[in-house]
Every structure is written in C-alpha cells, then in structure tokens.
C-alpha cells in the first residue's frame, strides 16, 4: 500500500503522469457517476432542438433527434471505458501468462510458442478482430473478446522479453542454485519484477482498445443502436453528415480524450516504474 502511494506520488511529479492521473480520476468519476451526473435523459427526443449548436441548455449541442450530446457521451463513458479495460484485461492476462511461461521455460518449448506467436502477430490487429467478430457475430461483448484475443500475441511478446531479461539476473540464478521450487522462482522471483513493464504496456493498450472498440462499433460490428456507444454515435451521425458537425465532434473528442488519458498515464508510469529512465 505504501508502495502504491509512493508510485502515485512519483507519478504526480512527472508532467505526463500527473496530467494522465488527473484525467484518469475524472474519467473514473464519470464512469461511476456518469448517468447520474448527466444533465438530461440521453434518450429523450427534442424535435424542436435538432442539430442544435452548443448552448446553455445543451452544453455540447444535440443530434438529429435533438438528444443532448453531453448526456449521451456521459452515459456512454461507462460502457466504452469498462469494455476497453475488460478487453485489455483479457489480452494482458492471457498474453502475460503465455509470455512469462514461455520465457521462463526457454529452449524448444519457447521457440515453438514464439514462432507461432509471431505468425499470429502477422495478422494486423484490426483484421484479426474483424475475423473473430465474423465468427462470433456483432455485439459489444463479442467485440471485447475479439480485441482481447487480438491483443494477446503482442502482450505475450512483451512479457516474454521482460521475462528473458529478468531470468538472466543473478537473483534467479541464486534461487536456482539454492534449489528453490519452480513455483517460487516464477511467482516470487520473476513475476514481481515483470509486473511493472507489463502494467505500462497494458495501460497504453487500453488506449488502443478504446479506439478499436469504437472502430468496430463504427463499422457496425460492435455495439448496436440505440446504445450511446461513441463509435456507434458517429456511425449513426453519418446519415446527417452535413447538417451539423457536433454529433461527430463530441463523441470523437471523447474517444480521443480517453485515449490521450491512457497514453499519458502509460508514458508517465513508464518513466516512474523504469529505473533506467526514471534516474535522470
């Protein structure tokens, strides 16, 4: 716990980290309280105020049904952010497990696993996700699974390279020379020292997950109407392209802001957790 506060403290002294952390906390508040805080009902139509520009009544304008964009974006935050975290969680846990184990075992097993992993990585992320969606069908949760699976090989590669670095260190040799059981070596000696880089990588990948999730919804392969999912909002706005830019700008900015948040947080964590770049 003290360690966590130490990391947060260090993060606040790092410009990128501090900004990322503040944005992240705001986002967290939005995820928990978003629908409560929303000034209006995100689903209520106001035919008198269609395509309204930002005003006091509608701080970020309205869409083609006159729905309040601010309220829609706020209530969409929960699903977008939580689903992105879930997708990254799936990819990180699966990837880290494969990577750490493969890296620790080494030898022939490692070679086979990593060759296969590399081959799978030859399929571009979005394409891989699209193929999985094609199998599972279009829905939010399927999009999450697809992104999680698509992120796994990349995460496995990162986890393995970190594991290889740690495995070569003398404290692992010392543990092996002592005759420690494999479970102790992997869980107590190696894993705690690979966690930091994996967390950094995972944080940055949340940004990717947010963007990919929105992209899939935009392509009609993720969330389905009338969900206030941000990508879907933009897809729907395309039918009314040149009437008002606000239905596109508002969810677009929301996606970018969330992605920026996790990118900043990831970069900040990298500086703070990495003893090499944190030193100077």
């Amino acid at each position: 716990m003290r360690k966590l506060f130490a990391i947060l403290g260090a993060l606040m002294r790092n410009p990128q980290g501090a900004l990322g952390l503040v944005l992240f906390l705001l986002l967290l508040a939005l995820v928990v309280l978003g629908p409560v805080l929303a000034p209006a009902d995100p689903e209520s139509f106001n035919y008198g105020a269609r395509f309204a520009a930002p005003s006091l009544e509608f701080p970020l304008g309205t869409d083609w049904y006159g729905r309040d964009l601010l309220s829609r974006v706020m209530s969409g935050a929960r699903s977008t952010v939580l689903l992105a975290l879930l997708a990254t969680g799936i990819g990180t846990v699966a990837g880290a497990l494969i990577g750490v184990l493969s890296g620790y075992l080494g030898g022939g097993a490692d070679e086979v696993v990593m060759r296969l992993n590399d081959a799978v990585m030859a399929i571009p992320g979005l394409l891989f996700a699209l193929m999985i969606i094609a199998v599972l069908g279009s829905s939010s949760i399927n999009a999450v699974i697809a992104i999680g699976i698509a992120q796994t090989p990349g995460m496995a590669r990162v986890a393995r390279s970190v594991t290889l670095q740690v495995r070569a260190l003398d404290y692992v040799s010392a543990a092996r020379a002592r005759g420690e059981p494999t479970s102790w070596i992997v869980l107590a000696e190696i894993l705690p020292n690979t966690i930091a880089p994996i967390i950094v990588e995972a944080t940055i990948r949340v940004a990717f997950a947010v963007m990919t999730l929105a992209t899939l919804s935009f392509l009609g392969l993720g969330a389905q109407p009338p969900s206030p999912e941000w990508g879907l909002m933009i897809a729907e706005a395309r039918s009314h392209l040149f009437r008002s830019p606000w239905p596109i700008i508002v969810p677009g900015a929301a996606i970018a802001l969330v992605a920026v948040t996790f990118n900043l947080l990831g970069d900040g964590l990298r500086d703070v957790l990495n003893p090499r770049s944190g030193g100077h």
Binding site: G107, Y171, S173, R176, A177, R178
Partner: protein, 683 residues
C-alpha cells in the same frame, strides 16, 4: 621538467550541478598544471568526481550547471570562455579524449577507418587522409592496418577498439589527451599492453596527458605525477615514488593502506580497512574536505581556514596536520589466522567438461554443424575443508563456468564428489553445503524482496527444523555476523550501499551453515577500501566457522590476502595449481608468469618482470588437441605445443600443464624482485 611551459593550467576551478535538494558541489578549489610531455595521473574512488573533472576540461558537463568559476587554460586559451564554435575547433585538434568504454564510444554503423578519416577531414582536410589513417593505425600497434580500415567495431576485440580510440585521440597531434579510465574495461594482460603502448608513444612523441583511473597501480605505471582526488577536491599531488613510499595526506594514507602489494606475503603486511565516508556535497563546503572521516581532525587547527593545496617537501598537500599524521602508526590490525587441517578432500572434481551452445529448430532441420563453445575442459581440482582456493584467470577462461557447474547452474560431464561421496544429482543436502555469492549484488538480490525475505529463504529451505521465531532470531544473528544492524532486515536492497549489499549476499550464503562457499568475483567493482573490508569479513567468518572458500577473481593483488592455494585457468583449462606460499618463486606456467607480470602494483619494495602477451584470446569451439595457450605463449617451443602437454608435478600440490621440461620451468626468473630492505631480515 618544471621549466617546460604548462599545457594545461587549472586555476581555482569550482563546479556545481543542480540536484533535487539544491546545488550539488561537484568540484571545488581545483588547481593543477600539466607540463609539456608530462602525464598527470588523477586517482580517486567512486564518487570522487574524477570523471567530472575530465568532462569539465572537455567542456561537456553531464549535469545541469548552476555554478562554475575559475579558469581552465589550454596553452593560454581559457576553455571556459570559449563558445560552441570555438570549442569545436579546439576539441580533437588541440585536446582529445580516450574513453573508458570503447565498445560504446565507436559508431556501430561506421568502419574504423571512416572514424579516423572523418576526424582528419574535419580538422586537417585535404588529401592523403587514407595514408595518414593507415599510419595512425600502425602507430597504435594494430597489425594489418589495411584490413582494420574496413572493419566495423563489432568485428574487432575490445583491446583493438581501445587502440582505435587512442588513434582517434592522437589523430591531430593534440596538445593534451584526457584518458578517462582507458584500461578499466580491459583484461589485465590487454590493459598492460595498452599501457605499454601509451608509455612508448609518450617517449616517442612526448604527448601530454591527464590519466584518470580508480586504480593506483595503473596510474603508477604511466604517470609522472599523481593527483589524489577526494570529494571533488585534490588532496595531494606527488611523484609516484615518494607518494607510495611516504603518503602524507590522511586520505592517501588510508587509501594506500587498503591496497594489496606483492611484498605483503614477505612482510606480513595486512590490509587496513579505511572508514572514509562519502564526502559532503550539499551546502557550505567544510574547510577540510576530509575532516568528517579524518582520525587526525582537530577542529581548532583544521577548521580555522580553508585547507588548500600547498607545496611541502616537493609535493602539494592539502593538510595542515601532515607532520602529526606522519608520526601516527598505521592502523592495520592483526588478521585472524586460519589454519588448514590437512585432511581428506572436501570437494573433488575430476574430468569436468561444460559445453555451451544450443541447437535451434532450423539448425536441426538443415542438419547444420552445431556451433558450440567448450567453456570448461577436463578440469580436475580438490578443495580441502577450511581452506581457500583462489581461481584466477581473465574473462572467458571458464572460471565462472566452473562456479556455475559446481552449483548446478550449468550442466556438466565428469565426476564431482563432496565429502567422499559422488554427487549424482544436486539434492537439497548438496545445495545446503555448497553456496555461491555472485559478483554484482545489484543483480543477485531481488529488488522486490526485503532483506529479511532474502535471508529467510535459505533458512526455510535448509534448516526446516527452526521454528518461525528461531528463524527471525537467526536473521538478526546473521546480520550481526556481517556487521550490519538488525534494523536492516526490513529494508530493501536499493536502500543499501554497494558494500552493504555485498554483505547481505555474503550473509545469505552463510545462513545455511555451508561447508563450501563459492565467491564469484565478489570484490570486483568495489572500491579498494570496501574490497579490503569484504575480504577481511570473509576471513573472520572463515576463522569462526571453518568454511572452505573457492575465491574466483581476476584481481591478483587481493589473492595474497585470502588464498591458501591458487589455480590458474586459461581457455577452459586449469594450467597450474600451486600453494600461495610459493607464489614468489618459480617454476611458473608461462601463462601464470604473463598474468602475474601484467598486474600493476604500487609496491615500492618490489619490481615486476615485464612479460606481455600478443594476439587475442581465441574461442574454444571445437576440440583443441594441444596446449590451450599455444597460440599466444611467449615461451612456445614449436610444433610440439600442438599436442597435449604433460602435467609436471613439483610436489606439495604444485602442478603445471606444459611441454617445457621441469628443469627449465624451475629456472625461470621470478616474477617479482624484492628490494634488499625487506629481503635482508629474511636471510
């Protein structure tokens, strides 16, 4: 020499960098001169700011400068007053630098020749650059300059890279060359050859230089005068002879008394453990920089005014109590005697082989010949209970592989027995009896574990009979034994200093009450004073517990203070085994002779024979039928050396693997010749 004009003059130079808690004083009150054709040595321990002085002269600070004052004059030009443009003309042309790490100081994408041509083109321009480059490469003793020209840095050895750096520094015949630890990353025999080269060049062309090193022995080999730096201030400047024979400054005295000398075996001199703390860097500088650590500190005298360098008895000294200091006795204490009971062997290794190299899937499919390295070849040795066997050799000789094989970290073939029983698998009992300490405590202590966790692991594994409370108590006892307070148990490794971390690593190895501890280069990378303390600690524990040590090192000086016997390794084989007591007398294996004579020393009472190796260490890939040292041996006999050499036995456990006949070996001149003053009482 004092009448030649100065090349470099530093006047009242001070430098501070920005730090998290205010300005950090890096250098303070620096005054020195280097005359034409003179090499000034600059010696200091880690944290003494010796490299910062080099950077200051090159006008390349590594921190954010918050304060700088004083002048740095290069033949009259004040470097501190020059702008970027003017500096660019000076660098490389009038002043140049040889870096410590040749592996990273050369651009990996450029040929060695291009490095030189580019530098010459910048400062000299014109034609004939290629010819000049070839000349320079030949000048620094590189064989076949023509081939070297088109080689890339990764294609040549470390010693060759360092020579290229030297050629780059010499290219425009600068007025001053700054050498920043140029031999520290090299093996002893390679470093010795580089020093010879620099000395030769100096005799030929009269270069002037500032030679920085943490190793007094290295500096003694090359420097006309030596400056000792502590905490960013120079405390003493003198010629090597007088400095070593009669150090005046308390810090110099402490430093010298913790350094081993070849004559120690004869004189029975013991290493002193200095207690010099890191110098204060924040706030107002104390009048005397050493006052906080000085045993002779008298506030009313020493703190009266700023203690500056002053000329006294032909040397410069920053101490107001030098005469009183001289009266005091050396603080070296008696070391515990360790008696070796001649007993049956504790560990017996015979015919041990270790082969590295893995076949990849593709190699197997393509049925390619497998590239493997024979790291350990037919090695046999015995270790008696309670004795210390030192294993010496340069990097790549297989000494660490031996340590890894003995602790189950590298698979081997051959037989190994402990206490008379053959070890078939490394079971818990064996691992409990045979422990290992690694070179670098930064890497051998898990940064995520507390000291308590680190010390509790071996107790849990090897002494399961202890209760939880007993284990806790045992941790306190172990810490006490390595002279660390019990509170350290709750700390993390990064909260400890380098020497303290190594003590924890030692404590961990003793926790299981082992019979043998393998120390793999555990003192390299530590300052001399810390090294002496660690060696002393090992001796104390050995005297208490009777544990046997295998002490692996490339540092020959410290051997005399730890080892009972030594084994010399070259290219995976033990070429000589002998008693420590007989080290001063022949016979030697030719490699032992070359290795011992490459070790620089500061001993005024001994003189070391100069034998240098040529060529580079080969990799041992396929079976090498003959003598491993055949390709570089200065005493090579001829074709016969390509056949397996016989093992000469000179009695008392002294064995040499060599084709040269026993009589010739016995008639070799000794490596060290000792002065009459210490030889006389003996005769």
């Amino acid at each position: 020499m004092s009448d030649t004009p100065p090349v470099l003059t530093i006047e009242n130079y001070a430098l501070s960098y920005a730090g998290p808690d205010g300005p950090i004083r890096i250098l303070d009150d620096i005054n020195l001169t280097i005359r034409r054709g003179e090499i000034l040595g600059l010696v200091g321990e880690s944290g003494s700011a010796k490299s910062s002085l080099a950077n200051a002269i090159m006008r390349d600070p590594t921190g954010k400068v918050v304060h700088e004052s004083g002048r740095i004059l290069l033949s009259g030009t004040d470097l501190t007053a020059l702008g970027e443009k003017a500096l660019q003309k000076v660098r490389g042309e009038r002043i140049s630098m040889v870096f410590q790490n040749a592996a990273t100081a050369l651009d990996p994408t450029q040929t060695l020749g291009d490095h030189l041509i580019e530098t010459l083109a910048q400062h000299r321009g014109g034609s004939g650059l290629r010819a000049k480059t070839l000349e320079l490469l030949g000048h620094v003793g590189l064989p076949d300059p023509e081939t070297m020209l088109s080689r890339y840095p990764h294609e040549v050895s470390g010693g060759e890279k360092q020579r290229v750096l030297l050629a780059l520094a010499l290219a425009c015949e600068p007025e001053l060359i700054v050498f920043d630890e140029p031999t520290s990353a090299l093996d002893a025999t390679t470093g010795a050859r580089l020093l010879d080269l620099v000395r030769g060049l100096q005799h030929e062309t009269g270069i002037s230089g500032l030679f920085i090193s943490h190793d007094l022995g290295t500096v003694a080999e090359i420097a006309d005068r030596i400056a000792v730096i502590y905490g960013g201030r120079i405390v003493e400047i003198a010629e090597p002879g007088p400095l070593f024979a009669r150090p005046r400054h308390p810090y110099t005295r402490a430093l010298l008394s913790s350094l081993p000398r070849p004559s120690d075996s004869l004189t029975g001199r013991r290493l002193a453990i200095s207690h010099a703390a890191p110098a204060p860097r924040l706030g107002m500088p104390p009048p005397c920089i050493y006052s906080a650590s000085c045993p002779h500190h008298l506030p009313e005298l020493c703190d009266a005014a700023q203690v500056r360098l002053q000329v006294r008895d032909g040397r410069q000294l920053a101490c107001v109590r030098a005469d009183a200091v001289e009266q005091s006795r050396s603080e070296a204490t008696e070391w515990p005697a360790v008696t070796v009971p001649v007993d049956q062997p504790l560990i017996e290794v015979s015919g041990m082989d270790v082969v590295y190299g893995r076949t990849s899937l593709l190699d197997r499919i393509a049925r390619r010949p497998i590239r493997r390295t024979r790291a350990l070849v037919d090695t046999s040795l015995t270790l008696r209970p309670g004795e210390t066997l030192a294993i010496v050799g340069e990097s790549g000789c297989g000494k660490s592989t031996l340590a890894r094989a003995l602790t189950g970290l590298a698979p081997y073939s051959g037989t190994l027995s402990l206490d008379g029983t053959t070890v078939d698998e490394m079971d818990r009992a064996y691992r409990s009896d045979v422990q290992i300490i690694f070179q670098n405590p930064d890497s051998s202590l898990n940064p995520r574990h507390t000291i308590a966790t680190i010390l509790l692991r071996p107790l849990k594994l090897f002494r399961p009979e202890l209760s939880r409370r007993e284990r806790r108590e045992e941790v306190t006892k172990i810490l006490e034994r390595v002279r660390l307070p019990a509170e350290y148990a709750s700390r993390f490794p990064h909260q400890l200093s380098g020497g303290e971390k190594q003590r924890i690593a030692i404590a961990r190895s003793f926790a299981a009450n082992p019979k043998v501890i393998i120390c793999d280069e555990i003192t390299s990378g530590l300052d001399a004073s810390v090294q002496a303390a660690i060696v002393r600690l090992l001796r104390d524990i050995q005297a208490e517990t009777g544990v046997a040590l295998i002490f692996i090192t490339h540092d020959l000086g410290v051997l005399r203070h730890v080892a009972h016997r030594i084994a010399v390794m070259y290219l995976g084989e033990i070429v000589e085994t002998r008693d420590m007591a007989s080290l001063d007398h022949p016979p030697y294996h030719p490699y032992t002779e070359a290795l011992m004579s490459s070790s620089p020393s500061i001993d005024p009472d001994s003189e070391t024979t100069r034998i240098r190796l040529t060529g580079e260490l080969p990799t041992r890939s396929e079976a090498l039928p003959g003598c491993p040292f055949e390709s570089r041996c200065p005493r090579r006999l001829g074709e016969i050396c390509k056949t397996p050499p016989p093992l000469h036995d000179f009695g008392n456990g002294h064995r040499i693997l060599c084709h040269i006949d026993a009589r010739t070996l016995a008639e070799m001149p000794p490596v060290w010749r000792f002065s009459k003053t210490i030889m006389e009482p003996l005769s």
